[in-house]
Protein backbone atom coordinates (compact mmCIF):
# COMPACT_ATOMS: atom_id res chain seq x y z
CA UNK A 1 0.00 0.00 0.00
CA UNK A 2 1.36 3.41 -0.82
CA UNK A 3 1.62 6.09 1.80
CA UNK A 4 -1.38 7.95 0.41
CA UNK A 5 -3.68 4.96 0.38
CA UNK A 6 -2.63 4.19 3.94
CA UNK A 7 -3.35 7.79 4.93
CA UNK A 8 -6.70 7.63 3.24
CA UNK A 9 -7.58 4.37 4.96
CA UNK A 10 -7.09 6.13 8.28
CA UNK A 11 -10.11 8.25 7.56
CA UNK A 12 -12.32 5.21 7.88
CA UNK A 13 -13.72 5.18 11.41
CA UNK A 14 -13.06 1.54 12.30
CA UNK A 15 -9.42 1.67 11.20
CA UNK A 16 -8.88 4.98 12.95
CA UNK A 17 -10.48 3.58 16.08
CA UNK A 18 -7.97 0.75 16.27
CA UNK A 19 -5.06 3.08 15.56
CA UNK A 20 -6.29 5.51 18.20
CA UNK A 21 -6.53 2.71 20.72
CA UNK A 22 -2.88 1.83 20.26
CA UNK A 23 -1.43 5.31 19.84
CA UNK A 24 -3.46 6.65 22.72
CA UNK A 25 -1.94 4.07 25.01
CA UNK A 26 1.60 5.04 24.02
CA UNK A 27 0.90 8.77 24.27
CA UNK A 28 -0.49 8.27 27.72
CA UNK A 29 2.44 6.15 28.74
CA UNK A 30 5.13 8.60 27.62
CA UNK A 31 3.36 11.55 29.14
CA UNK A 32 3.91 10.25 32.67
CA UNK A 33 7.73 10.31 32.76
CA UNK A 34 7.81 13.52 30.72
CA UNK A 35 5.48 15.34 33.09
CA UNK A 36 7.29 13.89 36.09
CA UNK A 37 10.67 15.01 34.84
CA UNK A 38 9.34 18.41 33.87
CA UNK A 39 7.69 19.01 37.22
CA UNK A 40 10.58 17.78 39.32
CA UNK A 41 13.08 19.57 37.12
CA UNK A 42 11.10 22.77 37.17
CA UNK A 43 9.81 22.84 40.71
CA UNK A 44 12.84 21.42 42.47
CA UNK A 45 15.97 21.20 40.38
CA UNK A 46 16.09 24.38 38.31
CA UNK A 47 17.83 27.31 39.99
CA UNK A 48 15.79 30.18 41.43
CA UNK A 49 15.34 33.24 39.24
CA UNK A 50 17.59 36.25 39.78
CA UNK A 51 14.69 38.67 40.10
CA UNK A 52 11.68 36.63 41.13
CA UNK A 53 13.17 33.98 43.37
CA UNK A 54 11.10 30.85 43.69
CA UNK A 55 7.86 32.43 42.52
CA UNK A 56 8.71 32.14 38.84
CA UNK A 57 8.33 28.38 38.94
CA UNK A 58 4.72 28.60 37.93
CA UNK A 59 6.13 29.19 34.46
CA UNK A 60 6.47 25.44 34.14
CA UNK A 61 2.71 25.05 34.04
CA UNK A 62 1.65 28.44 32.74
CA UNK A 63 3.78 28.68 29.60
CA UNK A 64 3.21 25.14 28.25
CA UNK A 65 -0.50 25.52 28.96
CA UNK A 66 -0.60 28.77 27.00
CA UNK A 67 1.33 27.25 24.10
CA UNK A 68 -1.06 24.31 24.07
CA UNK A 69 -4.09 26.61 24.03
CA UNK A 70 -2.87 28.23 20.81
CA UNK A 71 -1.68 24.96 19.29
CA UNK A 72 -4.96 23.19 19.94
CA UNK A 73 -7.02 26.01 18.48
CA UNK A 74 -4.89 25.97 15.34
CA UNK A 75 -5.37 22.24 15.10
CA UNK A 76 -9.09 22.71 15.58
CA UNK A 77 -9.27 25.28 12.81
CA UNK A 78 -7.26 23.01 10.50
CA UNK A 79 -9.50 20.05 11.32
CA UNK A 80 -12.46 22.29 10.62
CA UNK A 81 -11.15 23.17 7.19
CA UNK A 82 -10.48 19.55 6.32
CA UNK A 83 -13.84 18.41 7.66
CA UNK A 84 -15.68 21.06 5.66
CA UNK A 85 -13.91 20.54 2.36
CA UNK A 86 -13.67 16.77 2.30
CA UNK A 87 -16.52 15.87 4.66
CA UNK A 88 -14.44 13.32 6.57
CA UNK A 89 -16.13 12.08 9.73
CA UNK A 90 -12.90 11.37 11.60
CA UNK A 91 -11.75 14.95 11.20
CA UNK A 92 -15.13 16.20 12.37
CA UNK A 93 -14.66 14.15 15.53
CA UNK A 94 -11.11 15.48 15.97
CA UNK A 95 -12.50 18.99 15.82
CA UNK A 96 -15.23 18.50 18.39
CA UNK A 97 -13.01 16.41 20.67
CA UNK A 98 -10.23 18.99 20.74
CA UNK A 99 -12.42 21.87 21.88
CA UNK A 100 -12.93 20.93 25.55
CA UNK A 101 -9.26 20.00 25.95
CA UNK A 102 -8.19 23.30 24.44
CA UNK A 103 -10.62 25.17 26.67
CA UNK A 104 -9.16 23.46 29.73
CA UNK A 105 -5.60 24.37 28.78
CA UNK A 106 -6.67 27.96 28.16
CA UNK A 107 -8.37 28.11 31.54
CA UNK A 108 -5.27 26.60 33.15
CA UNK A 109 -3.07 29.20 31.47
CA UNK A 110 -5.34 32.01 32.62
CA UNK A 111 -5.61 30.77 36.21
CA UNK A 112 -1.90 30.10 36.61
CA UNK A 113 -1.28 33.46 35.02
CA UNK A 114 -3.51 35.12 37.61
CA UNK A 115 -1.75 33.31 40.44
CA UNK A 116 1.55 34.51 39.07
CA UNK A 117 0.35 38.01 38.37
CA UNK A 118 -0.55 38.76 41.95
CA UNK A 119 2.98 38.46 43.37
CA UNK A 120 4.67 39.73 40.22
CA UNK A 121 2.51 42.68 39.14
CA UNK A 122 0.43 43.20 42.23
CA UNK A 123 -2.81 42.41 40.44
CA UNK A 124 -4.65 39.22 39.59
CA UNK A 125 -5.76 40.61 36.26
CA UNK A 126 -4.88 43.47 33.95
CA UNK A 127 -6.64 44.29 30.72
CA UNK A 128 -3.59 44.21 28.53
CA UNK A 129 -3.46 42.82 25.00
CA UNK A 130 -2.22 39.33 25.71
CA UNK A 131 -4.47 38.54 28.66
CA UNK A 132 -7.52 39.97 26.96
CA UNK A 133 -6.93 38.07 23.73
CA UNK A 134 -6.29 34.84 25.66
CA UNK A 135 -9.59 35.36 27.48
CA UNK A 136 -11.27 35.89 24.12
CA UNK A 137 -9.71 32.59 23.03
CA UNK A 138 -11.37 30.89 25.99
CA UNK A 139 -14.73 32.33 24.97
CA UNK A 140 -14.19 31.13 21.41
CA UNK A 141 -13.56 27.62 22.69
CA UNK A 142 -16.68 27.82 24.86
CA UNK A 143 -18.65 29.05 21.87
CA UNK A 144 -17.56 26.01 19.84
CA UNK A 145 -18.45 23.67 22.69
CA UNK A 146 -21.87 25.20 23.26
CA UNK A 147 -22.64 25.35 19.53
CA UNK A 148 -21.85 21.67 19.24
CA UNK A 149 -24.22 20.86 22.09
CA UNK A 150 -27.03 22.94 20.63
CA UNK A 151 -27.37 21.34 17.21
CA UNK A 152 -28.98 17.93 17.28
CA UNK A 153 -27.58 16.43 14.10
CA UNK A 154 -23.95 15.46 14.75
CA UNK A 155 -22.69 16.18 11.24
CA UNK A 156 -24.40 19.55 10.94
CA UNK A 157 -23.11 20.45 14.42
CA UNK A 158 -19.55 19.55 13.47
CA UNK A 159 -19.74 21.57 10.28
CA UNK A 160 -21.12 24.60 12.13
CA UNK A 161 -18.31 24.31 14.69
CA UNK A 162 -15.80 24.04 11.86
CA UNK A 163 -17.00 27.34 10.40
CA UNK A 164 -16.93 29.02 13.80
CA UNK A 165 -13.44 27.71 14.56
CA UNK A 166 -12.13 28.94 11.23
CA UNK A 167 -13.61 32.42 11.55
CA UNK A 168 -12.31 32.68 15.11
CA UNK A 169 -8.83 31.55 14.09
CA UNK A 170 -7.92 35.15 13.38
CA UNK A 171 -7.59 35.58 17.16
CA UNK A 172 -4.67 33.14 17.40
CA UNK A 173 -2.05 35.33 15.70
CA UNK A 174 -3.39 38.26 17.72
CA UNK A 175 -2.68 36.41 20.99
CA UNK A 176 0.70 35.27 19.79
CA UNK A 177 1.93 38.60 18.49
CA UNK A 178 0.19 40.76 21.09
CA UNK A 179 3.35 41.13 23.12
CA UNK A 180 5.17 42.44 20.04
CA UNK A 181 2.49 44.68 18.62
CA UNK A 182 1.33 46.40 21.78
CA UNK A 183 2.93 47.82 24.89
CA UNK A 184 1.88 45.19 27.32
CA UNK A 185 2.66 44.31 30.89
CA UNK A 186 3.15 40.69 29.91
CA UNK A 187 6.72 39.65 29.28
CA UNK A 188 7.96 39.00 25.77
CA UNK A 189 8.36 35.66 24.07
CA UNK A 190 10.76 33.12 25.49
CA UNK A 191 11.61 31.49 22.19
CA UNK A 192 11.86 34.17 19.50
CA UNK A 193 12.07 32.94 15.93
CA UNK A 194 15.53 34.35 15.34
CA UNK A 195 18.10 34.75 18.05
CA UNK A 196 18.73 32.98 21.28
CA UNK A 197 16.14 31.99 23.84
CA UNK A 198 15.73 34.50 26.60
CA UNK A 199 15.74 31.79 29.23
CA UNK A 200 18.79 30.08 30.63
CA UNK A 201 19.40 26.48 29.49
CA UNK A 202 18.99 25.01 32.98
CA UNK A 203 15.56 26.56 33.21
CA UNK A 204 14.64 25.99 29.59
CA UNK A 205 15.08 22.23 29.49
CA UNK A 206 12.41 21.36 32.08
CA UNK A 207 10.10 23.81 30.31
CA UNK A 208 10.47 22.08 26.98
CA UNK A 209 10.07 18.70 28.63
CA UNK A 210 6.83 19.91 30.24
CA UNK A 211 5.66 21.04 26.84
CA UNK A 212 6.36 17.61 25.38
CA UNK A 213 4.58 16.07 28.33
CA UNK A 214 1.55 18.28 27.75
CA UNK A 215 1.61 17.42 24.05
CA UNK A 216 1.62 13.70 24.65
CA UNK A 217 -1.10 14.06 27.27
CA UNK A 218 -3.09 15.99 24.71
CA UNK A 219 -2.52 13.22 22.18
CA UNK A 220 -3.78 10.64 24.66
CA UNK A 221 -6.82 12.68 25.71
CA UNK A 222 -7.71 13.67 22.14
CA UNK A 223 -7.57 10.14 20.77
CA UNK A 224 -9.65 8.77 23.61
CA UNK A 225 -12.24 11.52 23.10
CA UNK A 226 -12.34 10.85 19.36
CA UNK A 227 -12.92 7.18 20.04
CA UNK A 228 -15.74 8.14 22.36
CA UNK A 229 -17.26 10.46 19.78
CA UNK A 230 -17.12 7.75 17.11
CA UNK A 231 -18.88 5.36 19.45
CA UNK A 232 -21.54 7.89 20.38
CA UNK A 233 -22.19 8.66 16.73
CA UNK A 234 -22.64 5.00 15.99
CA UNK A 235 -19.82 4.86 13.48
CA UNK A 236 -18.29 1.87 15.25
CA UNK A 237 -20.24 -1.26 15.99
CA UNK A 238 -18.91 -2.74 19.20
CA UNK A 239 -19.43 -6.45 19.03
Amino acid sequence: MTFWTWLKSLTSPPIFFVLAQRCGFWFGLISVPLLAYGLIGGLLLAPPDYQQGEGYRIIYVHVPAAWMSLFIYSLMALAGGIALIWRIKVWECLLTAAAPIGASFTALALVTGMLWGKPMWGAYWVWDARLTSELVLLFLYLGVIVLHQSIADARAAARACALLAMVGFVNVPIVHYSVEWWNTLHQGSILPKLGKPTLDRSMLTPLLVMLLGFQSFFGYALLRRVQNELLVRGEIQRG
Binding site: L163, V167, I174
Partner: protein
Protein backbone atom coordinates in the same frame (compact mmCIF):
# COMPACT_ATOMS: atom_id res chain seq x y z
CA UNK B 1 -32.29 43.75 -12.34
CA UNK B 2 -29.46 41.75 -10.87
CA UNK B 3 -30.04 39.29 -8.09
CA UNK B 4 -27.87 41.22 -5.65
CA UNK B 5 -29.86 44.39 -6.25
CA UNK B 6 -33.11 42.43 -6.00
CA UNK B 7 -32.22 41.11 -2.55
CA UNK B 8 -31.10 44.53 -1.38
CA UNK B 9 -34.33 46.20 -2.45
CA UNK B 10 -36.43 43.39 -1.04
CA UNK B 11 -34.80 43.79 2.36
CA UNK B 12 -35.43 47.53 2.25
CA UNK B 13 -39.04 46.95 1.26
CA UNK B 14 -39.54 44.45 4.10
CA UNK B 15 -37.97 46.89 6.53
CA UNK B 16 -40.31 49.63 5.37
CA UNK B 17 -43.27 47.34 6.03
CA UNK B 18 -42.31 46.63 9.62
CA UNK B 19 -41.19 49.97 10.92
CA UNK B 20 -41.98 49.06 14.50
CA UNK B 21 -39.36 46.33 14.36
CA UNK B 22 -36.82 48.81 13.14
CA UNK B 23 -37.43 51.24 15.94
CA UNK B 24 -36.83 48.67 18.67
CA UNK B 25 -33.03 48.51 18.51
CA UNK B 26 -32.74 52.28 18.35
CA UNK B 27 -35.02 52.79 21.35
CA UNK B 28 -33.18 50.08 23.24
CA UNK B 29 -29.86 51.77 22.54
CA UNK B 30 -31.10 55.13 23.68
CA UNK B 31 -32.66 53.70 26.82
CA UNK B 32 -29.68 51.61 27.86
CA UNK B 33 -27.19 54.40 27.26
CA UNK B 34 -29.20 57.03 29.08
CA UNK B 35 -30.04 54.82 32.05
CA UNK B 36 -26.43 53.86 32.68
CA UNK B 37 -25.51 57.07 34.48
CA UNK B 38 -28.13 56.20 37.11
CA UNK B 39 -25.77 53.54 38.33
CA UNK B 40 -22.82 55.89 38.64
CA UNK B 41 -22.42 58.59 41.30
CA UNK B 42 -23.52 61.93 39.82
CA UNK B 43 -21.12 64.84 39.33
CA UNK B 44 -18.15 62.64 40.11
CA UNK B 45 -16.52 62.91 36.73
CA UNK B 46 -16.08 59.17 36.59
CA UNK B 47 -18.90 58.97 34.08
CA UNK B 48 -16.65 60.18 31.27
CA UNK B 49 -14.43 57.16 31.75
CA UNK B 50 -17.30 54.84 31.10
CA UNK B 51 -19.05 56.63 28.27
CA UNK B 52 -17.11 54.97 25.41
CA UNK B 53 -17.80 51.54 26.84
CA UNK B 54 -21.47 52.34 27.41
CA UNK B 55 -21.96 53.63 23.88
CA UNK B 56 -20.22 50.67 22.26
CA UNK B 57 -21.72 47.92 24.40
CA UNK B 58 -25.15 49.48 24.06
CA UNK B 59 -24.79 49.53 20.28
CA UNK B 60 -23.65 45.91 20.26
CA UNK B 61 -26.56 44.73 22.37
CA UNK B 62 -29.01 46.70 20.28
CA UNK B 63 -27.52 45.19 17.12
CA UNK B 64 -27.93 41.70 18.56
CA UNK B 65 -31.64 42.37 18.95
CA UNK B 66 -31.98 42.93 15.24
CA UNK B 67 -29.66 40.16 14.12
CA UNK B 68 -31.42 37.27 15.74
CA UNK B 69 -34.18 36.96 13.21
CA UNK B 70 -32.06 37.84 10.21
CA UNK B 71 -32.14 34.52 8.41
CA UNK B 72 -34.75 32.56 10.25
CA UNK B 73 -37.67 34.03 8.35
CA UNK B 74 -36.23 33.09 4.98
CA UNK B 75 -35.37 29.63 6.21
CA UNK B 76 -38.85 29.02 7.53
CA UNK B 77 -40.87 30.28 4.61
CA UNK B 78 -38.77 28.54 1.99
CA UNK B 79 -37.23 31.62 0.37
CA UNK B 80 -33.77 30.45 1.38
CA UNK B 81 -34.09 27.30 -0.74
CA UNK B 82 -34.88 29.40 -3.79
CA UNK B 83 -31.87 31.58 -3.07
CA UNK B 84 -29.68 28.47 -2.97
CA UNK B 85 -31.00 27.41 -6.36
CA UNK B 86 -30.55 30.78 -8.02
CA UNK B 87 -27.69 31.13 -10.52
CA UNK B 88 -25.92 33.85 -8.52
CA UNK B 89 -23.55 32.46 -5.87
CA UNK B 90 -25.09 32.50 -2.43
CA UNK B 91 -22.15 34.50 -1.01
CA UNK B 92 -23.17 37.53 -3.06
CA UNK B 93 -26.77 37.22 -1.97
CA UNK B 94 -25.68 37.01 1.66
CA UNK B 95 -23.41 40.03 1.20
CA UNK B 96 -26.33 41.99 -0.16
CA UNK B 97 -28.59 40.92 2.67
CA UNK B 98 -26.06 41.82 5.35
CA UNK B 99 -25.40 45.23 3.80
CA UNK B 100 -29.11 45.95 3.71
CA UNK B 101 -29.48 44.85 7.33
CA UNK B 102 -26.63 47.14 8.32
CA UNK B 103 -28.15 50.05 6.45
CA UNK B 104 -31.50 49.58 8.09
CA UNK B 105 -30.52 48.56 11.63
CA UNK B 106 -26.87 49.39 12.18
CA UNK B 107 -26.43 52.78 10.59
CA UNK B 108 -29.27 54.35 12.63
CA UNK B 109 -27.48 53.23 15.79
CA UNK B 110 -24.27 54.84 14.58
CA UNK B 111 -26.09 58.04 13.65
CA UNK B 112 -27.82 58.21 17.04
CA UNK B 113 -24.59 57.73 18.97
CA UNK B 114 -23.23 61.29 18.75
CA UNK B 115 -26.48 62.58 20.23
CA UNK B 116 -26.18 60.13 23.11
CA UNK B 117 -22.49 60.99 23.48
CA UNK B 118 -23.29 64.68 23.84
CA UNK B 119 -26.05 63.89 26.35
CA UNK B 120 -23.60 61.83 28.36
CA UNK B 121 -21.18 64.72 28.54
CA UNK B 122 -18.63 64.16 25.80
CA UNK B 123 -17.20 67.01 23.76
CA UNK B 124 -18.33 67.57 20.19
CA UNK B 125 -15.13 66.24 18.64
CA UNK B 126 -15.25 63.14 20.81
CA UNK B 127 -18.86 62.57 19.79
CA UNK B 128 -17.85 62.74 16.13
CA UNK B 129 -15.13 60.17 16.71
CA UNK B 130 -17.64 57.90 18.43
CA UNK B 131 -19.95 58.21 15.43
CA UNK B 132 -17.21 57.49 12.90
CA UNK B 133 -16.04 54.54 14.91
CA UNK B 134 -19.55 53.17 15.17
CA UNK B 135 -20.23 53.57 11.46
CA UNK B 136 -17.20 51.41 10.72
CA UNK B 137 -17.60 49.18 13.72
CA UNK B 138 -21.29 48.49 13.16
CA UNK B 139 -20.43 47.16 9.70
CA UNK B 140 -18.16 44.58 11.29
CA UNK B 141 -20.70 43.93 14.03
CA UNK B 142 -23.40 43.21 11.52
CA UNK B 143 -21.27 40.96 9.37
CA UNK B 144 -19.90 38.95 12.27
CA UNK B 145 -23.28 38.94 13.94
CA UNK B 146 -24.90 37.91 10.69
CA UNK B 147 -22.46 35.04 10.39
CA UNK B 148 -23.34 33.85 13.89
CA UNK B 149 -27.02 34.25 13.14
CA UNK B 150 -26.56 32.10 10.04
CA UNK B 151 -24.87 29.41 12.14
CA UNK B 152 -27.90 29.37 14.42
CA UNK B 153 -30.58 29.87 11.77
CA UNK B 154 -31.97 26.39 12.18
CA UNK B 155 -32.36 26.57 15.95
CA UNK B 156 -35.75 27.78 17.17
CA UNK B 157 -34.66 29.16 20.54
CA UNK B 158 -31.12 30.30 20.01
CA UNK B 159 -31.54 33.45 22.09
CA UNK B 160 -28.69 33.29 24.60
CA UNK B 161 -26.38 31.51 22.20
CA UNK B 162 -26.09 34.40 19.78
CA UNK B 163 -24.33 36.82 22.17
CA UNK B 164 -22.01 34.01 23.28
CA UNK B 165 -20.86 33.44 19.72
CA UNK B 166 -20.77 37.07 18.65
CA UNK B 167 -18.98 38.70 21.58
CA UNK B 168 -15.60 36.93 21.24
CA UNK B 169 -15.63 37.51 17.48
CA UNK B 170 -16.31 41.24 17.80
CA UNK B 171 -14.02 41.95 20.75
CA UNK B 172 -11.29 43.49 18.55
CA UNK B 173 -13.92 45.89 17.18
CA UNK B 174 -14.98 46.87 20.69
CA UNK B 175 -11.40 47.35 21.81
CA UNK B 176 -10.48 49.61 18.91
CA UNK B 177 -13.76 51.48 18.98
CA UNK B 178 -13.64 52.25 22.67
CA UNK B 179 -9.94 53.00 22.26
CA UNK B 180 -10.67 55.58 19.59
CA UNK B 181 -13.29 57.23 21.78
CA UNK B 182 -10.97 57.32 24.78
CA UNK B 183 -8.21 58.79 22.62
CA UNK B 184 -10.60 61.50 21.46
CA UNK B 185 -11.53 62.34 25.05
CA UNK B 186 -7.96 62.47 26.28
CA UNK B 187 -6.66 64.21 23.17
CA UNK B 188 -4.58 61.36 21.79
CA UNK B 189 -4.34 60.11 18.24
CA UNK B 190 -7.57 58.69 16.90
CA UNK B 191 -6.39 57.75 13.44
CA UNK B 192 -4.82 54.43 14.36
CA UNK B 193 -7.86 52.81 15.98
CA UNK B 194 -10.14 54.18 13.27
CA UNK B 195 -7.91 52.76 10.55
CA UNK B 196 -7.98 49.41 12.33
CA UNK B 197 -11.76 49.54 12.46
CA UNK B 198 -11.87 50.26 8.76
CA UNK B 199 -9.49 47.39 8.05
CA UNK B 200 -11.57 44.98 10.12
CA UNK B 201 -14.70 46.14 8.31
CA UNK B 202 -13.12 45.51 4.92
CA UNK B 203 -11.93 42.06 5.99
CA UNK B 204 -15.38 41.20 7.23
CA UNK B 205 -17.12 42.33 4.07
CA UNK B 206 -14.79 40.22 1.95
CA UNK B 207 -14.44 37.09 4.04
CA UNK B 208 -17.65 36.68 6.02
CA UNK B 209 -20.20 36.21 3.19
CA UNK B 210 -18.79 32.87 1.97
CA UNK B 211 -18.58 31.62 5.56
CA UNK B 212 -22.13 32.76 6.24
CA UNK B 213 -23.34 31.12 3.02
CA UNK B 214 -21.76 27.84 4.10
CA UNK B 215 -23.36 28.21 7.52
CA UNK B 216 -26.78 28.75 5.91
CA UNK B 217 -26.45 25.65 3.77
CA UNK B 218 -25.52 23.75 6.89
CA UNK B 219 -28.48 25.16 8.78
CA UNK B 220 -30.80 24.12 5.98
CA UNK B 221 -29.58 20.56 6.17
Amino acid sequence: MSAVKAIFLRELRLAARSRADLAQPVFFYAMVSLLFPLGIAPHSGSLTLFVPAILWMGALLAALLGLERLFRGDLEDGSLEQMFLAPTPVSFLVLSKLLAAWLVLGLPLALLSPVLALLLGLSFSAAVVVMLGLVLGSLSLFFLGGFSSALLAGLPRAGVLLPLLVLPLVSPVLIFGAGAARAAISGGSVEAPLYFLAAIAVLCICLIPPAAAAALRNAFE
